[in-house]
């Protein structure tokens, strides 16, 4: 039983394209997140979202947008892809009332050519 899953695992695309990464959690958590891990392994929060509030890291370009069709899903849409968007993107979830432990997905490696 996979707790947090992401698709696709690998994504190779060209500059200028629009792409989406899907994330699903089956833990019944109320909050989901997207993180970006660059080539130097730096991990940075992009978004935090529950059904009431979206919090955006101010450094994230507005080409990136999270979309949540329901509590179990938080998809990441990226418009007009740039070379610098190449990274590994991690989805995570948590149940805030039970403390701050976050459960991470396996990551999606995005390569922009």
């Amino acid at each position: 039983d996979t707790a947090v899953s992401q698709t696709p695992k690998y994504l190779v695309t060209q500059m200028g394209n629009d792409k989406s990464i899907k994330c699903e959690q089956n833990l019944g958590h109320d909050t989901m997140y997207w993180y970006k891990q660059d080539s130097k392994k730096f991990l940075k929060i992009m978004f935090s979202y529950n059904n009431k509030e979206l919090i955006i890291n101010e450094t994230v370009p507005n080409r990136f947008s999270p979309k949540s069709p329901d509590k179990a899903h938080l998809n990441l849409h990226i418009n007009s892809l740039e070379l610098g968007d190449s990274a590994v993107y991690f989805c995570a979830s948590s149940q805030v009332a039970r403390g701050h432990e976050q459960y991470f997905g396996p990551g999606t490696r995005l390569t922009v050519t």
Binding site: Y35, I45, E53, N57, H100, E101, P106
Partner: protein, 108 residues
């Protein structure tokens, strides 16, 4: 603004040697800190959190508010401890601010 600093990008030790991975933070409120670990080809997972004051896989970490540190320690390193370790601080929106990570290599 909150910040987490891990001064060592790479730490290489021999099996059986003590290990200390350093973490310093800056935060205006009362901090809640974590250590996450990423083994090769695996997802990021929680190792321990300061409020639990527990020992996981032989690792411990003590919050030192005076020195604003949360160093991770293990008295005897094992080869299976080789991984990427991230110190993290939770802030607004339950978002984690991560340090830059330290790669621990335990040599046989």
């Amino acid at each position: 603004a909150q910040r987490v600093t891990q001064p060592e990008k790479l730490l290489s030790v021999f099996k059986g040697a003590p290990v200390e991975l350093k973490c310093n933070y800056s935060y205006s409120g009362s901090p809640e800190l974590f250590w996450y670990v990423q083994y090769s080809r695996q997802r990021l997972q929680l190792l321990l959190r300061h409020i639990s004051r527990e020992s996981i896989k032989g690792f411990t970490a003590d919050l030192n508010k005076g020195e604003t540190s949360f160093h991770l320690k293990k008295p005897f390193a094992q080869e299976e401890d080789s991984a990427m370790y991230y110190c993290a601080l939770v802030g607004a929106g339950n978002m984690l601010t991560f340090g830059g990570g330290t790669r621990l290599m335990v040599k046989p």
